[in-house]
């Protein structure tokens, strides 16, 4: 059965619009990408609460911080990669002051596809995770993204939410209960655990199906909150399986794999397999072609997991 597909950015736009109706303090800013990030749904309904900042990300983040300081709830969106242009603003104006700014970076990872290297952020998780006070989130489907946008409205503090350009199959239904900081076990197993985030959650679920045919049963865990990481769950499943795989559309340096390794290194040292971009940039191409070439598709994940499980 073909599952219903939607991009996480679509969830962002839908939820932001709904949030605008519910809460008059919600404002939005964008840097000339509102059609791509979907913040245009909000801008059309609430033009007085939407700030077109032009192609100027530093000023967007600085102004968002000023709005937050004044009691507004700003959502500032652009491509993940261009949010990095304002990194030191995020550091010195937002996270240093614990200001309630919600940064939304879309078109993350090589999943972005044809636009190529310049638009494929593969270092943003590492960058934002290193900032004290920041919460770092990545939804795996459009529904989870919607829930995240709502949850962030009730959360007071700096956050970065990472989204993808292209559609992914729906994993969650509208009754899904999302909680910041809680990992979600999507599939139970015993031989290994795959901690995955974003678009690779679906690929990991597919990988688990492939492995199951080979009689290898793996846990698949959706890590939507990369910071603060659900440490207890990570340690618990590492203990149960002694075989930990991480999967992310991000550099293996500094991303989810590193976050898991940091926790396990201190609490339950064990061997890991980190699936992600192996410290290199992507290129133009169709998302599925790129995932195959760079080893991020379900087959590659299954193959790597299989090798890892067999070696033990």
């Amino acid at each position: 059965m073909e599952q219903q597909k939607a991009a996480t950015r679509d969830g962002y736009g839908k939820a932001l619009l709904e949030l605008g109706k519910r809460n008059p303090n919600v404002v939005a800013l964008d840097a000339d990408l509102s059609d791509s990030t979907r913040s245009e749904y909000f801008s059309k309904q609430f033009p007085e609460r939407f700030f077109s900042m032009g192609i100027a990300e530093q000023n967007m983040i600085g102004a968002a911080a000023g709005l937050a300081f004044s009691g507004k709830i700003p959502y500032a969106s652009t491509f993940a990669i261009f949010s990095e242009r304002a990194y030191e603003f995020v550091r010195n104006v937002v996270s240093r002051n614990k200001l309630n700014v919600k940064i939304a970076g879309s078109h993350a990872g090589i999943f972005t596809g044809e636009d190529g290297k310049s638009a494929q952020a593969i270092e943003d998780i590492a960058a934002y995770r290193a900032l004290p006070n920041m919460v770092v989130l990545q939804p795996c489907d459009a529904v989870e993204c919607e829930k995240m946008v709502f949850a962030l409205a009730d959360y007071k503090g700096p956050s970065y939410m990472r989204m993808h350009r292209n559609p992914v199959p729906a994993i969650h239904g509208q009754d899904y209960k999302f909680e910041i900081g809680k990992g979600e076990i999507l599939k139970s197993g015993k031989d290994a655990v795959i901690f995955a985030t974003g678009s690779l959650v679906h690929e990991s679920l597919k990988a688990a199906d492939i492995l199951e045919k080979e009689n290898v049963k793996v846990y698949v865990v959706n890590i939507h909150t990369i910071k603060p990481l659900d440490k207890n769950l990570v340690i618990e499943l590492a203990k149960k399986t002694n075989c930990v795989v991480t999967a992310e559309d991000h550099n293996v340096i500094g991303g989810l794999g590193s976050a898991v390794a940091e926790v396990l290194g201190e609490n339950y040292p064990c061997k890991m397999k980190m699936i992600g971009m192996q410290d290199r940039y992507g290129e133009s191409g169709k998302p599925d072609e790129l995932y195959k070439k760079y080893g991020l598709d379900a087959e590659s994940i299954a193959e790597e997991a299989m090798k890892f499980v067999s070696k033990r």
């Binding site: 032009g54 000023n59 600085g62 102004a63 010195n92 002051n97």
Partner: protein, 281 residues
């Protein structure tokens, strides 16, 4: 209309605060005297004449906001806030010391501080965000932000400049403390910012140009700027002298970020005590 008596009082106040700035930096043996001394006259005009504020209620919703974008000049704002009663004067002894409130660059936990500066080019963007919020909330207040001429080399200053005019923000007043000198030399030698007045005018701002050490010009400009409600932001280009009031610090980049030693401190205090406020400008 501002009376001569009022202006004389403000000048006297600035003279006293100049000494406080030097004492704070001398005591810490660390800090930025040059830009603090260039900014202090305008700060006095703001805090003792113009700003609608309440030191007993620093976060009063309808207050005017003041953003010190050039955050390294923290001594100037700290001595003002202490004198206004935002916090105990004894806090000044802890400037730049471990475990104390008054950090090298301002932090939001200090009463009266509306922006945590230190990284240049950010305060004006932050001020713009506050101006957006105040307009949304239909607040009857102004947002003032002080930037430097060296700081104007940061591209973000011009991002904010363009955006404020585009969004027709007229509750924002930027003050350019044009003290001519930055850390490694004269602004015109490090990276000339050219004709600031023409640049800001071309970006769509109301431009007022003054001598930023002449108190009567300062308060006249602040009055004018605060009432400019023509759907345009306003900038006061405040022509100043880095290190103003201490001969050997004036226009001397060596005193951008260096504390005076014993001898220099004594000489500096001596010079300031001898300032004739009636002639000072």
């Amino acid at each position: 209309m501002a009376t001569q008596k009022l202006i004389l009082g403000l000048k006297q106040k600035a003279k006293g605060l100049r000494k406080d700035i030097l004492s704070v930096i001398y005591n810490a043996q660390s800090g930025h005297p040059g830009g603090s001394l260039s900014a202090i006259d305008v700060l006095v005009g703001l805090y003792y004449y113009k700003l609608k504020i309440d030191p007993k209620n620093p976060l009063w919703n309808d207050r005017d906001r003041f953003i010190l974008s050039k955050g390294h000049c923290s001594p100037a704002i700290y001595v003002v806030l202490a004198d206004k009663g935002y916090f105990q004067k004894s806090e000044l002894d802890g400037y730049r010391k471990i475990g104390r409130m008054l950090q090298g660059h301002p932090e939001l936990n200090t009463p009266g501080i509306d922006f945590a500066g230190g990284a240049l080019g950010q305060g004006i963007c932050f001020a713009l965000g506050i101006a957006f919020a105040c307009r949304l909330d239909k607040k009857n207040c102004n947002v003032y932000a002080m930037i430097g001429d060296g700081e104007s080399q940061e591209g973000a200053v011009w991002e904010a400049s363009m955006a404020a005019a585009f969004h027709k923000i007229d509750n924002l007043v930027v003050i350019l403390d044009k003290n001519q000198v930055q850390q490694t030399g004269k602004v015109k030698d490090v990276m000339d910012i050219g004709n600031a007045a023409m640049k800001w005018k071309a970006f769509g701002w109301n431009v007022i140009e003054i001598n930023g050490h002449d108190m009567s010009q300062i308060i006249k400009a602040l009055d004018k700027a605060s009432k400019m409600k023509n759907k345009k932001p306003t900038i006061i280009i405040s022509n100043t002298i880095k290190g103003k009031g201490v001969s050997f610090m004036e226009l001397n980049h060596k005193f951008h970020g260096k504390a005076p030693n014993d001898e220099e401190y004594k000489k500096a205090i001596d010079e300031i005590e001898n300032i004739d406020v009636k002639k000072f400008k």
